[in-house]
Symmetry: D2
Subunit: 496 residues, 4 copies
């Protein structure tokens, strides 16, 4: 059951095109359940495939727009996909944000590759700092891993969220120790871990999973303070596929009612049963005091990554403008005003995300990290504005969005002509254009990609209250009291 | 093809119980298409049945809570279902609102019987006033129809929204005259109408459809100014069933993933091809100048009927509170504060609805009508607050709502135990309780009943801008300018 | 120093007109401080007079619109000012709300008479219930007082808010016992009280002050559980006048820059130093267990009384519409839309207020009390919407509202012609009209009456969090969980 | 009356300290009216002085924090105050924003120097482009002026907003040509201009005024297309001082009730009557086609300058936190949550401002300009969030903010001890601290600095609708439609 890091890498050959990527997922020894059944070949499953397509687009974009989606890696002295690039400057983070927005525009969904990117960013600095304190060699292991990852252009997914069990108890205090991932055995070759990672975005579509702690830990939680890189098809891993609103429309014939037939997101529960990790792929084991900072840095990166939703917001603005035109309502001043409001909210999100990136600061390992306050502000806005943008899009769309018969009815010999006669839009707009645009808005506000645009915007990278706690911690209220007291003329005798 | 009113009524026998109602829908000669297929027996279709159940509950409630859901009808000197009762006082409208909220609490969806109720309310006064001006006999026809309807306890659906075609053109100016329903022929027995009515809520589940104009009309539009009562199975009618988010989950085995397995809404496109209406069931034919007022009164009644959504809001509050408890988060102050906010918004909607009813005024026919300003204010709030309540419910629910595997996976011999181990909630709360509650919140915020709770709240009884236009018309800005000018000390020489 | 109730009443003669009222305030033996000076005759003080004018309007309205502002009192079998009328039905509460809105329209400020009205309402039931439990005779005393009050048509102010000191301590636990008003001595003639009442709206302009507890009390707080009626000029009372934004503009010549030259509000701190109350005017003394319910009922009445702010909202809408017209911008669609939004928010407040009144329930003493949930909802909306209405009014007004020179400059021989040339509005609108309307909006959004329209809307009748606590208590979350669990299909084995 | 540029500059000697600046304003030949009177020496006027202090702080900051408030000018090869620095990089704009926020924290008001800064920025590129097209020499004139300005460290104010008269008419169409500033005469030495500039922020406190067009112009408006630099004391200029809420508190003794005794803003109407400008100080004369772009660029710079309000927001957060502590309420979870919300909104504004700066692009003249979309988004947020921050601050402050007696009463021998006894805050917090902090919050939400924090936030740099129009223009809706159509599967035959 043990295997060396080199052996684990042996099967990977460099991925260049989107097709290469799809091919790389075929024939893997993964155990995947969905709807109570074992899935033979996930790549060909009509519900799973759109989520693979979204990821494949990250490879395509690197070819189509290399200045945006690639960067020069000094590690291997070659261009790499930006999703595998180490952040060398604030500008790198800004370019990341622009790539994320672009990907959102092109896919209209969650393209699932950001958690891996933000994971390698945080590991760069944390491994460096653990080594500095403990004399460990995690940073070199990390760099070695990353060189191989860049060369092979593989995909990494972050496995962070443990099930947590009783929220009032620490990992070591839980009745069931597996409710947080932990080391069950250590030997000369490596370590073994057991537990589960929930809400894993794109977990099944990646090549490697980086497991890491989900919250701060104490000395008693040492066995739970573990970071390691695990190949997706490692023995002992089970994937159970999460349902999404309207997921089974992907099983229906035709593409119209799917709304966005090509792209979708993916969430899986991943269960690890004594999964082996060779030492070369272990990047924390017991250094519990770094868990909290690791999570804080990950959220600083990842909460700003949610600017991707502005790409989806662009699609919403475009969809609303298009359906208004198809309906013949685009000249109404209230329609224009709603499009302005949608844009304003969307750009406000974008502002807080890129501001956080522009204001990044350098860490001891040399990497740059987003401004934490603004990253939290960005994510907090993401938990609000997409809902309002979606509401306005539904307002503009009109009620037909939820009363329109199926595409099959439009093709029926009796019903079809009736529908085409009565549901015709303005002028010579084909009724199918209305169908398609309404289904896209349904897809993004109620259907499969509403999961990514709305609920994931709420809870991904931490629920709203998590951001508020960080804002509370970072708001420097004492300094601000000083400003107010100075202006109010309040003086303290001791000068404090 | 002609048939008398009496003949049309011959087939109806009085409905008492919910079962009677379901039985009354069986074996009808209706033509219904869904997913490109003709539906043999709609009553037994798993997608349609939940919408029938919701309506059936209106019969059940009359038995379970007669003081709420019945009233004494002076027309037949007997108790009748309140959904068929003529509004004799403001208190009747308030009781209607309370019944609507109760129905929302019990079904968590649109129970589809309000359009018929508000239709008979508006016809009472409009037919009276047409007769007063034109010497017609519509009011007597209406009262005769209503007596039969009350005695048989049948269901009426409102057929109001025409497809409208080119929005810049009047009915008589459209290229295709059928884009607004119109009279195609008149003879000694009755009239024939052709056209379509879109977004017909519960249209298939009713016994009679009242077709009526959707907007103001001019003299050239006389043939389009038509109101008539048509049995659902009248020859020439075709129903095409509207899709809803997650509609096909009703076809899946098991009830958990449905969220709300028992109840759902229904929207149909109804096409009328030279459908005959005997004179006794014609209640407007050509009196175009009453079309605008008819619509205005219908919206005054119907926009206040949207207090039903506060019943769904109660379910949302309860669901959020329950999942918070299952998650072990119910003691957190931010959770309590969000429940308070949800309640506050919900009760604000309720306030504007019942205030509109309490402030009802009597019309010449003796019936009472909601205060129009407050009804519009109610509906405008309904286009906003349910979206925010839904957002807060998703916040409290947590991300698992959109990442949880299917119920079938929970039953699988391998995946099931993993899920039960890792997705367990607090203490001894069964994992199935979490499943069910999360699926209910999914159902109401993204799934089938999100159509009723959100999008229908937006567009039903008129889209937001329609209310704003009414508020603009009714805001009495000149009177308010006078107040301001008096306080500002502005005097006009001519006293104006 | 002791004096009988009859002696206390001896000096009052019935007030009919607004002038009678003003006359009744002259020559009183009150001790009033403002700007560090003792005020000789408050009635003639230019800062105080506008607040007296606002109250005087309550007398005028009873003459001008008796159907609105008077009611028949069975106690004295005669018409009385509605501000002294006992609530005999929900309709009485609704009429109260309509009168309050009307007063707001006419004065554009806080007219200060509602606390007294809501005080007599709450005393009716509470004294009745204390008597029922303790065999006391408070209710008869109350009715005797009220008859005299109605006959003399006097003004009562509520003295409720104690300074409270250390918020974490009960009254009896405070270092200084006076931080809550308490009984210092009892003798055969009556009792003596010491303490202070803060934020007393119109406290100086009334004839009687009703002191009463501000929060729940325990057995140790018996001496603090006191309710009594005290004449404004009773020995031992000191008034200290509260500042308001722009208060000293009332001292300037001319009326333009005052914005609303005629009307204003008033807040005073009232200090009581061993003030005597004859037994006949004591209505609680030691029955501490009724303190909490007394406060709860007072807030149920008083939070709905804040519909008065919709009268001010009407003035805001009118002022915004007028200045838009003077500026030549009234045809712009965004201006109209903002007026609609202001109206919508204003009517939403109104809805929750009158809904609370319409849904009033009868108490054991026979009086009716507002629905507490909806009253809290009303007040919560009042803590939000006036701020947004004010913001929109400032938007419409334009920047000139805060950059316009003084009225004196408009009259200056050099500056005046320049201002009249350059600040002219559209067409033949006199520049003075612009001046006056902009100053009115300044007055209500930044100036003296912004205190009443904004900050008092926030904190009067309890700050926002106080309403949220009441909403939390009254939201019946268990009942709502039942709805959700029923729809989700959750069953408990023990049927719970 | 003619005078050369050199002569105009002769009187200026380099300003270094804040005192130098104040001294430079003394004894000038300006004509200033306030309250209908000619002001002898504005510098010593208690209402005017706080606005001078705010500007003086810009000189002080350059000494205290040179890295923030100075920059190296290549024009004179020396460090200059950043308010006079040409934007050489996006980073320069970001530093400008940080300096603006810092100034807001230090003064709590509008410090009035940004319009001049943004004016020189826009003139750099516009003069360059006019020259390129017309062969004029404006750019050299501008650079010459700027060198002198930098060397002397003087203050420039922007004179942009014309009174506009009838909004439906162009400048040349107005009945009174002076309603837009225009050239009345041209001769060998220079030009003469007549008109007025309204809402001039800090207009009286500056050394030079740059007059420039306020909107787009056509060929007929050539005489109105004029840009020139005019010394403040040029013959023919009259200043009329704008009133502000609570302005006269500055005339009262004591500093407590002023809230912010040291700093305030200033708005003046400036009237120009045939004011002479030597050719060297003319930078546009007739090139009407550049007027629109000039305004667009100015707003791109200036709307991002409104991040200054986040400095005031910091004061609001600090003031709210301080008063909560003084009141003993700072541990309440709802208080903390409100502080978080205030911070979140404030940082959201900051994000959009600095994002706009970071994303600046270079113009042909070499200068960098803010991203226009994000600058508009920033300003749009500024028209909303300060109002909500102010509302929350009032919520936290409590009602005492508007009911507290004057500072003089606290000093009175009778009233003072009462107030100190009853209005004491928690523990050993001196009552004066509560007074001061409440007055500061009053100052910023209702009083003098509410003008700067609220109403100027609404209308400065263009009212909200102006930003919405710019967002509409820049939202690239066709590109976004393409995204939506691609995802919806809509294809056009002609590929369009």
């Amino acid at each position: 059951m043990t295997i060396t890091a080199a052996e684990q890498w042996a099967g990977f050959k460099p991925i260049v095109t989107a097709d290469d990527y799809v091919a790389s997922l075929r024939g893997r020894a993964t155990t995947v359940y969905m709807f109570g059944e074992l899935i033979e070949e996930p790549v060909d499953h009509p519900i799973i495939r759109p989520s693979i397509n979204a990821l494949a687009k990250t490879y395509q974009l690197a070819i189509d727009e290399p200045e945006l989606a690639t960067a020069h890696s000094p590690l291997i002295n070659a261009p790499v996909n930006r999703f595998l690039h180490i952040v060398e400057s604030p500008q790198d983070l800004v370019m990341k944000n622009k790539m994320q927005r672009r990907m959102g525009q092109l896919t209209g969904t969650c393209f699932q590759r950001c958690t891996g990117l933000d994971t390698i960013s945080v590991l760069h600095s944390i491994t460096y700092e653990i080594d500095a304190k403990h004399g460990t060699r995690y940073h070199q292991r990390f760099l070695a891993f990353l060189k191989r990852a860049q060369a092979a252009n593989i995909l990494i997914a972050a496995g962070m969220t443990d099930p947590k069990g009783d929220r009032s108890k620490r990992p070591s205090e839980q009745v069931d120790p597996d409710l947080f991932m932990h080391v069950t055995k250590r030997d000369a070759d490596g370590i073994y871990v057991t537990g589960a990672k929930a809400h894993m975005t794109g977990g099944l579509n990646s090549h490697w999973i980086c497991v890491m702690p989900t919250m701060n830990m104490g000395e008693a939680d040492k066995d739970w303070a573990v970071v390691g890189m695990i190949p997706n098809e490692a023995p002992g891993i089970t994937y159970i596929y999460g349902r999404q609103s309207c997921d089974t429309r992907a099983l229906e014939p035709g593409d119209i009612d799917k709304g966005n037939a090509q792209y979708g997101g993916q969430e899986v529960l991943v269960v690890f049963d004594n999964v082996f990790i060779p030492h070369d792929h272990v990047m924390m084991d017991g250094e519990y005091e770094f868990a909290q900072e690791m999570v804080a840095r990950f959220t600083a990166y990842h909460r700003a990554s949610y600017v991707c939703k502005t790409g989806l917001g662009d699609v919403m603005v475009g969809a609303a403008a298009a359906i208004a035109q198809f309906n013949g309502a685009d000249a109404a001043s209230h329609i224009k005003d709603k499009l302005v409001e949608m844009t304003h909210l969307n750009e406000t999100i974008y502002s807080s995300g890129i501001a956080s990136s522009h204001e990044a600061k350098q860490l001891p390992s040399g990497i740059f990290m987003n401004d934490a306050m603004l990253a939290n502000v960005c994510k907090q806005n993401v938990t609000r504005f997409p809902y309002e943008i979606a509401r306005l899009a539904q307002d503009i769309a009109g009620g037909l969005m939820v009363t329109m018969p199926s595409a099959a009815d439009f093709e029926h010999e009796v019903a079809g002509p009736m529908l085409k006669k009565y549901l015709k839009g303005r002028g010579n707009v084909p009724v199918e254009h209305r169908q398609r645009m309404l289904r896209l808005i349904e897809n993004m506000t109620l259907g499969r990609n509403a999961v990514g645009y709305l609920t994931e915007s709420m809870h991904g990278a931490g629920s709203p209250q998590a951001q508020r706690i960080q804002i509370l911690r970072g708001m420097e209220v004492e300094r601000k009291k000083d400003y107010a007291e100075a202006l109010a003329g309040i003086e303290y005798e001791d000068g404090v």
